[in-house]
């Protein structure tokens, strides 16, 4: 019995080491390819469109609804102590420093990260990746690098939209629903939000974009087991990217605080 348990733990640890090793080796190969081969600009723009432009509506909706809910919740708490004039800054700082980057990261991971995994995974199981290899084409240059670079560069722009629409959502609730002064809301933001807040949020979002495309391409590239395998990889891609984004968020916040 004890031997079986030890055996199980040993196998689990070995499998974990193998997976983590393979995950990082994949990244090393992608980074090496980025710096040793020509970046496919047309594919990069294609990915900007797929990851960025196509996610815009989801991101705007996320921003508006989060901003509105945040304003409402903040109002409920702040009116008890007479601090309604600070709602603007709370909404803006919340959206810029935390909620904008993290919610956009999670939403894009669900929308574009899963699509990346499903697409590359399908190419894997239908031997399309093998076909590229037999033509002696660099599959990392063709499939992986444009997606990771595009994800890293486009996410800050998407987050900018989340931030702006979150603040607009908060404004709508404060001014038109709660009847607060428009000047109070805007002045509160002007007084309390500095450029470093925005910079921090954008740096974080770039990192989240990198994480979700890294996970998405890796899970797709390593897909096996037919249609079921594609489904498993896609689910695993969204779960892994979400966990990594949530975990990285704390450490990035701590790191950026010290810079």
């Amino acid at each position: 019995m004890i031997i079986k348990v030890v055996d199980f733990i040993g196998l689990y640890v070995l499998e974990l080491c193998r997976s983590v090793g393979s995950f990082f080796l994949f990244l090393i190969k992608a980074v090496t390819t980025l710096f040793t081969t020509r970046l496919k600009v047309s594919k990069l723009f294609d990915q900007f469109e797929r990851i960025g432009v196509s996610s815009l509506s989801v991101v705007i909706l996320t921003g508006v609804s989060t901003g509105m809910a945040l304003a409402l919740q903040t109002y409920i708490g702040f009116q008890r102590v007479g601090g309604e004039q600070f709602i603007g800054s709370i909404v803006a700082l919340g959206m810029i420093r935390e909620l904008g980057p993290i919610l956009t990261g999670l939403m894009v991971s669900g929308r574009a990260g899963s699509a990346i995994t499903a697409e590359i995974g399908t190419m894997r199981i239908t031997e399309q990746i093998d076909a590229l290899k037999t033509l002696r084409l660099n599959t990392y240059q063709y499939l992986v690098v444009p997606r990771i670079v595009a994800g890293t560069l486009i996410l800050p722009f998407l987050v900018l939209f989340t931030m702006i629409f979150g603040i607009i959502g908060g404004y709508i609730v404060c001014v038109y629903v709660l009847g607060l002064s428009s000047e109070d809301y805007i002045n509160s933001i002007k007084d309390n939000v500095v450029l470093d807040d925005i910079k921090g949020g954008l740096i974080k979002s770039g990192f989240f974009g990198f994480l979700l495309t890294w996970v998405g391409t890796y899970k797709g590239y390593r897909t096996s087991g037919g249609a079921r395998g594609v489904g498993k990889s896609t689910t695993s891609s969204v779960v892994t990217a979400s966990i990594l984004i949530l975990t990285a968020n704390y450490f990035l916040t701590k790191m950026l605080e010290n810079i």
């Binding site: 239908t126 031997e127 399309q128 093998d130 590229l132 037999t134 033509l135 002696r136 084409l137």
Partner: protein
């Protein structure tokens, strides 16, 4: 010349190829036959480097390809083509982009690539009207021909075919077989064909039977039907009784 020396491939605890030894002379067409699940496709993928062998050697003109860098491998296999069982066309690209992908990705302009693609398509008897169609709009036979045209773009000296006629009707199968034979003669190719199709034998030079992870028998294709080798005899005639054991019970034993 392609030479496989004691080639073994293990997946987890299952040994698929158990020491394959085979010599394939330049300019010849060889059919590798064997039961489903014997590891024929695995063998073919080991030859071209899509699957790393667990042990053994794949010698191309005497050079071992199993322990070389990726760059060396790219150079060595530059003129190798691979035709996949289901063509493996990139479904997001049209026929022109699929056939010309190698040149387009290497920076050639569309203007330069277009006439080359048209030439390769005509070699596989496809008309220009398929140029801008997507793989989903093509029949199985057309897809296989586009796959072959894509391979021809590399000006191959060796083409590896993975079940090129599987799933096709007899007429289309015949067209594909004649096309392969025609290519073989016109371009002086070396062709390695994984097949279950016994009609392919009439175009081939040599037959090799993969059984139990090893090359069990080899035979001249012209005399294969006269061969007294018990394995070949049973396999090409599809006999249930013989040295090749089947797990499937005979119909009369079932009921």
């Amino acid at each position: 010349m392609i030479e496989l020396v004691n080639l073994k491939k293990q997946f987890y605890d299952k040994l698929v190829t158990k020491g394959v030894n085979l010599k394939i002379e330049d300019g010849t067409m060889i059919c590798i036959i064997g039961r489903s699940g014997e590891g024929k496709s695995v063998l073919l993928k080991q030859i071209i480097g899509l699957i790393e062998p667990t042990s053994g050697q794949v010698l191309i003109d005497g050079k071992d390809t199993t322990n070389i860098s990726e760059r060396e491998r790219d150079k060595l296999f530059e003129h190798f083509g691979y035709v996949f069982q289901f063509a493996a066309l990139l479904d997001s690209l049209n026929v022109f982009e699929n056939v010309g992908i190698k040149l387009l990705e290497n920076g050639y302009s569309i203007k330069k690539v277009l006439p080359i693609v048209k030439e390769k398509l005509s070699m596989v008897q496809l008309k220009e009207d398929v140029l801008y169609k997507f793989p989903s709009e093509l029949s199985g036979g057309m897809r296989k021909r586009v796959g072959l045209a894509r391979t021809l773009i590399t000006n191959p000296k060796v083409i590896l075919y993975d079940e090129p006629t599987t799933g096709l009707d007899p007429i289309t199968s015949r067209v594909i077989q004649e096309l392969m034979s025609d290519m073989q003669k016109r371009l002086n190719l070396t062709s390695v064909i994984i097949t279950h199709d016994i009609n392919m034998f009439q175009y081939a030079d040599k037959i090799a039977l993969l059984h139990n992870g090893k090359i069990q028998s080899t035979c001249d294709a012209k005399t294969v039907w006269d061969s007294k080798d018990p394995y070949l005899y049973q396999f090409i005639r599809g006999l249930p009784n013989g040295p090749i054991q089947t797990e499937i019970p005979h119909a009369k034993d079932k009921f």
